[in-house]
Structures are given as C-alpha cells and as structure tokens.
C-alpha cells in the first residue's frame, strides 16, 4: 500500500480528523437512539408477554390507548422528528465551528 493510497481513505469507522469525525460521532449517537427505541421497545414488549410485567403493561393506557400501542403508533414518529431536530442542531453547530476554524487558517 502506497502512502498515496492511505491519504485518500474514507471509512465510516475510521473518520478523519476535523469535521468528519464530529459528524460521524453524532451519526452514531442518533443511530443508537433510533435503533434502541424502535427495536429495543419491541423486544422488551415481546419479552414481557405472558409474564407479570406483560399484564401490567397491557393494563396501562395513555390517551385511552394501550400504552404500547401509543408508544409505537404515536410516540415513535415523534421520536424520529426529535432525533432529526437534534441531528440538525448539532450539524449546524459543528458546521459553523469548522467553517470559522477553516477561515482563520487562511489568515
């Protein structure tokens, strides 16, 4: 492998310093929140079925909806919107930070 080849490496799991490293960090945080809440809740729900916790969960309601139905059908889309807002706010911030940093380096 030549040094030339090394210079142009792009790998999600080995981001280069600067903007890309910050960007990849927030991507992983958001994806973690996305996967955990979406699939984690379903796994929890399936695991609770038939146990005492399951019948407790089935009895809970919110806005007259069974809690798990409300969580999946109404809260999860809201959660996705929250994730997107968090992502955008963070990207706006690091974009501003790195733009300032870059412009200063030209001085």
């Amino acid at each position: 492998m030549t040094s030339q080849e090394k210079r142009y490496r792009i790998n999600l799991f080995r981001p280069k310093k600067g903007h890309m490293r910050d960007e990849v960090l927030i991507i992983f945080i958001i994806l973690f929140g996305w996967a955990l809440v979406t699939f984690g809740f379903q796994i929890l729900l399936a695991a609770c079925q038939g146990t005492g916790a399951g019948s407790l969960l089935a009895g809970l309601t919110l806005f007259n909806l069974p809690l798990h139905f409300w969580f999946t059908g109404q809260f999860l889309p809201l959660w996705f919107i929250i994730l997107c807002i968090a992502f955008n706010l963070y990207i706006d911030r690091i974009t501003a930070y790195h733009s300032r940093k870059r412009d200063r380096s030209y001085e």
Binding site: I10, M20, F39, N64, F69
Partner: protein
C-alpha cells in the same frame, strides 16, 4: 343530484383545479421570475417532501393493513417514518455534496461502471413498476367504488384516466404544485376523520387521540383487540418488516432525488424535519380510520370472513365514511385526496422510470449519439409502455396495497441502499462489488417465491415484503468481500470522496 354524483363531481373538480392552478402559476412564473418552481423555504420544502411521499399506500393501504393486522401493521407506520432518520443522517448531505441526484447517475459516476449503471437503471424501473401497481390498485378500487363497477373495470377506467391526465399535463406543460398537493391531501384526509369521530361520539377536535376511546369500546363491547402485540406476527416478522421499510425509504430513488429542490444544504436538512412532521400528521391519523371502520362493522353486526375482509381492506377508509353516513360530497373529498396522491405518485414514478429507459439505458448504453428529440420520443413511449405493463399486473393484484408497496421498498433496501451507503462511506467499494451486491440483492428480494418452496428456511428469513433485515446486511457483506478481492477504484474517485464529499470543511 345523488350522493355518488356529488362524490364524483368533487373528485373531478379537485383534479381539474390542479391543472388550472398549475397553468396560472406557470404564466405568472414566466412573467415574474422567468423560471418555473420557486423557492418556498423550509416549510414549503417539507410540504414538497411530504406530498411527493404520500400515495395510495399512505392514504388507503395503511388504514387497510391496520384494520386487518392490528399491531403488526404499525411496522408500516414506523418503517415509513423512521427511514427518514437513516436518510437524513447517513446520506442526505453527502449525496448532495457528491452532486449526482438519480440512483443510476450516482452509481454510474461513483463506481465508474456501465454494467452497474445499467443494473441500477433496471432496478429503478422495477421499483417504479411495482410501486405503480400498488397505486393502480388504489385508483382502481376508488373508481369501482365511485362508479359502482367491478374492480377490473375500475382499474381500466382509472388507468385510462391517469394516463390521459399525465398526457394532458404534459402537453400543457403544467408544473406540479407540491405545496397545494400536500394541503389538499392532508385536509381531505383529516376533515372527514374529524366528522367521523364527531358522528360516532368521540373526541373529534384531535381524532388522532380520540380514537383511543373507540379502541377501548371495540375490545370491551365486541372483544376485538387491535392493539394486541404480536397477535398477527412474531417479533421477528415485525422487526423485519419495519427494518425493510426503513432502509427502503432511504434507498427509494424518487425519495432520494427530493433533496435537491431546496437551494442550500442547511435548508435541505431542515426541510426533512418539516417533511417528516407533515408525513407523521397523516400517519397518526390512519389508524383512526381502521379503528372506526372495525367499530362501525361490529356495531352493524358485520363480522367478515378473513378472505372477505382482506378483499375490501384497501377501501376501508371510504367504506367507513359511507357506513357512518357521511354526506356524499365529503366522501368525494376523501376520495379526491387519495386519488390526487395516487395520480401524482404515478406521474412521478412513470417519469422516473421512463427517464431511466431513455437516458440511462437508451442514451448512455445503446445510442450515445442519440439526439435530444429521439431521447424524448423514447421517454414518451417508455412512459406508455410502463403504464401498460403496470395496468396488466394491476388487473390481478398480487396483494394488498401496502404489501405490494413493501416489495418495492424491499428491492430498494436490498440494492440501492447498500450501494449508496458503501459508495459514500467507504472509498474502497468498487464496481465489481457493486454489481455483485445488486445481483445478490435482487435474489434476496425474490428469494421467497424463487426458493421458498425448496428451502423452507428461506421463506422464513426472506419473506417477500420484509427481506431486507437479512438481505441488506448480506448484500453489504458481499460488496465488501468482492471489493476487497478485486482492484481498488480509481484514485481520482477516492480523492473526490476524500476532498469534496467528506472534506468540504477541511
């Protein structure tokens, strides 16, 4: 005038008004701005994303599948919203910096291979056709419902209507008004729902919350529990379906190209948030139609056989409105919203498919010297041929609207999504990997009908509507292995990825 006469009148008015508003906008634009399509800000961009997304699957199929499958069908709600998170964080900004906006263009440029471009074009066309079949089924069911004819005649009339509408808009050169479309779709979906909730005696100001009480009544009085988790499918089936729809959303060609109508990257990102919010408004409402429909049927003592319920599930939105005694004009409003969504989705998909035929296949591969006018002819002929194929398949629809659509998502998630993700995030991915990945992806998508009979395990792991949970990771693995075994992509492309796509602020 009879009730159904009112319904049909409203539907025609709404469809004609799109043309009239478009024409007015066109003359004003060319006068005031000199170009079509204005910048309408983040909220306008969000409405454009949402209206581009809404189709018969969202407005009819979703309520239908929830009516049939209860909690299992919420995987559709989650899959079709959660996919935007993937799209936003993994692809949106980077593809925009890459500068190629259609799937075949991106693949052709990134992997530098005519074979990969050809395969992507074929896959895009396949996705458009499958997706359109679902729309045609929706259009056909609405037509047969309104006109009182059988389904096959409904599809024929509906197909004729949508193609004439397309041709007419094309001849007049009408620009699509996406903001108006979203407004029409959401109002025509939610106002009848409020009326319905009011009529049935539930909290009607926000029927998205009001249907909770109806769900309680349904289970107390009639013993029907739509909320029972995993009653119609296992945890694996739920997750597989949800994941497939998510990666499919992030890989669907006509969704990807939506990011470039907004002039700067920051607004493009924020318009995704608005788009997702506008989509969620419809998706919070769809289960209400399913619950009210079930409740109306139960109150009237109609307990349908599973096969009968399945055959009318896709029209449950309109059926509920009629059962509850909504006035004819309001049923017309409801039908008009769903029809306009389906019409414009068909228009967009057929044009995407035809563009792939004329540009990516005819011009880039077979006739590089073809003139502009001959390419246009191929595109126009391609649109009609695709519409014909779709119509033939839709005469005997293979499933529910949501299910047919899910197959298109599975195909996108198994092929285009891995190509985009690796193409953007791994410089070493090359043309051999891309071609191998796409072939494996196609096989994964259709593994159940192809091999399900021979190896039962395949049918369990790769169900037709939900093959991407196992398929997409497998395709990514194949792409990585094949890429590592073959020569690295050109230095020029790796430098471009390093300096432009991921180095714009270095």
């Amino acid at each position: 005038m009879s009730d159904s006469g009112w319904s049909i009148g409203i539907v025609i008015c709404v469809l004609v008004s799109f043309i009239l508003v478009g024409l007015k906008q066109k003359s004003r634009d060319s006068f005031e701005y000199g170009f079509g399509g204005r910048y309408t800000g983040r909220i306008g961009g969000g409405a454009a994303i949402a209206s581009n997304w809404m189709s018969a699957a969202s407005l009819m199929g979703l309520a239908g599948i929830i009516y049939l499958n209860g909690y299992l069908a919420l995987a559709y709600v989650i899959g079709w919203t959660g996919g935007y998170v993937l799209l936003l964080v993994l692809l949106a900004s980077q593809i925009r910096r890459f500068g190629k906006f259609t799937a075949p263009d991106f693949v052709g440029e990134r992997y530098g291979s005519p074979a990969a471009r050809f395969l992507t074009a074929v896959i895009s066309i396949g996705i458009s056709v499958i997706y359109c079949v679902a729309q045609f089924k929706g259009i056909g069911m609405i037509f047969s419902f309104l006109l009182g004819v059988d389904y096959r005649h409904g599809v024929l009339y509906g197909g004729l209507a949508v193609v004439s509408y397309l041709v007419l808009s094309g001849i007049l050169g009408v620009p699509r008004n996406q903001q108006m479309l979203y407004f029409v779709i959401s109002v025509s979906f939610i106002v009848p729902l409020m009326w319905l909730a009011h009529r049935l005696g539930y909290f009607w100001l926000l029927p998205q919350f009001g249907y909770g009480a109806a769900m309680g009544d349904l289970s107390r009085q009639f013993g029907i529990d739509l909320a029972a988790p995993f009653a119609h499918g296992t945890l694996f089936q739920w997750c597989a379906l949800c994941f497939t729809l998510m990666v499919g959303t992030a890989g669907l060609p006509h969704v990807l190209s939506r990011f470039y109508t907004v002039p700067n990257l920051r607004d493009a990102r924020w318009s995704v948030v608005w788009g997702l919010f506008f989509i969620a408004i419809i998706y919070w409402s769809a289960p209400a139609y399913a619950v009210f429909g079930k409740l109306m049927e139960a109150r009237m003592g109609q307990f349908l056989e599973p096969s009968a319920a399945r055959s009318m599930a896709d029209i449950i939105v309109l059926k509920t409105a009629v059962l509850a005694g909504l006035p004819g004009w309001l049923v017309g409003v409801l039908a008009a919203g769903a029809l306009s969504a389906a019409f414009f989705t068909v228009a967009g998909l057929l044009m995407t498919g035809a563009a792939s035929i004329s540009f990516d296949i005819y011009y880039r591969i077979f006739h590089p010297m073809a003139s502009e006018s001959s390419r246009m002819k191929v595109a126009k002929a391609g649109t009609l041929v695709l519409a014909g194929i779709v119509l033939l398949i839709a005469l005997n629809p293979p499933g529910l609207i949501a299910e047919i659509t899910a197959v298109a998502f599975a195909l996108a998630g198994n092929t285009i999504f891995p190509l985009f993700v690796l193409g953007i995030w791994w410089d070493r991915a090359n043309d051999d990997g891309a071609v191998a990945g796409m072939l494996v992806g196609i096989v994964c998508t259709f593994a159940q009908p192809l091999f399900g009979g021979i190896v039962p395990q395949v049918a369990v792991l790769f169900p037709l509507t939900s093959s991407a949970l196992c398929g997409a990771p497998l395709v990514i693995l194949v792409m990585i292995v094949v890429s590592l075994l073959s020569p690295a992509p050109p230095e020029e492309m790796r430098r471009f990825l390093h300096d432009e796509v991921h180095g714009h602020l270095d």
